[in-house]
């Protein structure tokens, strides 16, 4: 018998069309057996040049493009863009408009987290939660559809307010959803949180240390799962978030298990915010009149929103004409995917799938 067997590193492509990469992302893995020695993400498959297209369109025409920036939380992207334009031209949104924005934004956050809660276990081999969460997501989609006629790309939040008022049946339907939702969240937790297979796959896997959070600009629930208390809704309140009473769920371990639990608890807090907003929803205007040929004041602005995946920021330069001079939209995943190679080194391929899913990385906001 030869004492030393010859070994060799293997290079393997994961993707671009891998079901667990949530979009089209190719990961070039260098493997020693099943252990990952190196991981290089290859992106750009979904590049649609949104920023260049925005420079060629009026502000109102940019809003539908921002929907496509990150289609799981289109409301947030509309909102971040409108915030930037409003900041530049000192537009004050009417009270009812602000409340409707908060209601829609938080419902959209719940819808996005429901996709996460359904899809993450599916990547780890548990198909059932997916069917449960999409049942509840359907109710939110119905609420959006009755308000703005769309289920995925809403074009609802406009500069100066929102596009349409809610129909009369919205509030009872929404309350009905909130009433059952807490029980449904407990169902998801029953399926997963104490499940020994789930714990074995996720606990202690893919630890993100606070130092890695600082180094790679990780934001949103993925940062909070590592114990970094950073939420733009509290730290840099925009809109009317300072009026609501809600908590920031924090994790301690920074592993996949914590990232999942933080998001599940965030859904509870978002439901709390929506309930408070419905209670205090004032009457009145939903939008201030903004001319069709909207021209903000010349200047530069950076607006930021807490999106379901981290910080959603829009850097906007205006030269005083009807078209934006420069737009740079920043999504959380762009930074998060950079950190993945540092998290997965030394782990197995199956862990990479769990980590990728637990960070809720979505490709359209990386490729833009």
């Amino acid at each position: 018998m030869a004492e030393e067997l010859r070994t060799e590193d293997m290079t393997m492509n994961m993707g671009p069309q891998h079901p667990s990469t949530h979009g089209v992302c190719r990961l070039v893995l260098t493997l020693d057996g099943e252990v990952i020695k190196d991981c290089q993400p290859v992106i750009g498959f979904l590049h649609r040049s949104i920023e260049k297209m925005c420079e060629n369109r009026t502000y109102a025409q940019c809003i539908p493009l921002m929907d496509r920036f990150e289609y799981c939380t289109s409301m947030s992207c509309n909102w971040a863009f409108c915030l930037a334009a409003e900041k530049l031209s000192d537009i004050k949104v009417p009270e009812r408009g602000e409340y409707l924005r908060v209601i829609m934004g938080e419902l959209n956050r719940i819808a996005s987290h429901l996709i996460f809660v359904g899809v993450t276990p599916m990547d780890c081999g548990a198909l059932t939660p997916f069917l449960y969460t999409f049942r509840e997501r359907e109710r939110i989609m119905d609420l959006f559809e009755m308000t703005c006629g769309q289920r995925l790309t809403y074009n609802y939040i406009r500069i100066g307010g929102v596009a349409k008022d809610i129909p009369p049946e919205f509030i009872p339907k929404c309350r009905e959803f909130l009433d059952i939702f807490e029980e449904k969240i407990r169902d998801y937790e029953k399926l997963l949180v104490d499940n020994p297979i789930w714990i074995a796959r996720n606990k202690g896997v893919g630890i993100i240390t606070p130092q890695l959070v600082y180094d790679y600009c990780i934001s949103g629930p993925s940062a909070r799962a590592s114990g970094v208390n950073f939420d733009i809704r509290k730290n840099d309140p925009y809109s009317i978030y300072d009026r609501f009473d809600f908590d920031i769920p924090l994790g301690t371990g920074g592993d996949c298990y914590d990232r999942f639990n933080v998001r599940v608890n965030e859904m509870r807090q978002s439901a709390r915010i929506v309930a408070q907003a419905l209670d205090h929803l004032p009457d009145g205007e939903i939008r201030v009149k903004v001319p069709l040929k909207f021209k903000p004041n010349p200047g530069e602005v950076y607006s930021r929103r807490e999106n379901s995946r981290g910080e959603m920021g829009v850097y906007l330069v205006s030269d005083g004409s009807t078209k934006p001079f420069r737009i740079r939209a920043r999504g959380g995943s762009f930074s998060h995917l950079q950190a993945v190679p540092h998290i997965v080194k030394g782990l197995k391929i199956a862990d990479l799938v769990a980590i990728f899913a637990s960070m809720d990385i979505i490709m359209p906001e990386i490729d833009r």
């Binding site: 600082y214 180094d215 600009c217 850097y315 330069v317 920043r330 950190a339 833009r368």
Partner: protein, 157 residues
């Protein structure tokens, strides 16, 4: 710290030269000389009163007369934010990487290189990643760029 305190602290403590841009936004905004960029980044990242550890955004821009690179930074610990930018000439735009300060700047700088054609000195991996691998139609985000299927829409203003 408030905007005025941040401005005063940075202009008095930083050894290089910074220019303050007056604006009505809540964040102070500075222009830093390109040769001071890394020293400035290191200073605001490490200074205990600033701790600007979170690089929120890094964007290139073409103003028509010159190129700019804009940095929006924030503090995880102290929650305040500042913006700063460097200005580069149109011919031979080059600036230093800040990866050693914020490792997350890597892809942001790659994007500035790819879409604006500004060279990033000391960057470990300046390769295409958003555009096609065999892209040869120049730098799309430069003003005045025209590609084969790019049609400028009329200004309706």
């Amino acid at each position: 710290m408030t905007k005025a305190e941040l401005t005063a602290h940075i202009t008095t403590t930083f050894s290089g030269q910074v220019t303050v841009i007056e604006n009505t936004q809540p964040e102070p905004y500075f222009i830093v000389k390109p040769e001071d960029l890394v020293a400035f980044a290191r200073f605001i990242h490490d200074d205990s009163a600033l701790q600007l550890t979170f690089l929120m955004n890094l964007a290139g821009a073409d103003t028509g007369e010159r190129y700019e690179v804009v940095y929006n930074v924030c503090s995880y610990q102290l929650k305040h934010r500042i913006f700063f930018k460097i200005q580069l000439p149109h011919d031979n735009p080059e600036f230093d990487t800040v990866i050693q300060v914020w490792p997350g700047a890597n892809w942001f700088e790659r994007e500035v290189w790819e879409l604006f054609g500004m060279t990033v000195r000391n960057h470990p991996n300046l390769t295409r990643f958003l555009l096609e691998d065999d892209w040869n139609e120049g730098f799309p985000l430069r003003k005045g760029w025209t590609g084969t299927d790019f049609i400028p829409l009329p200004d309706r203003g």
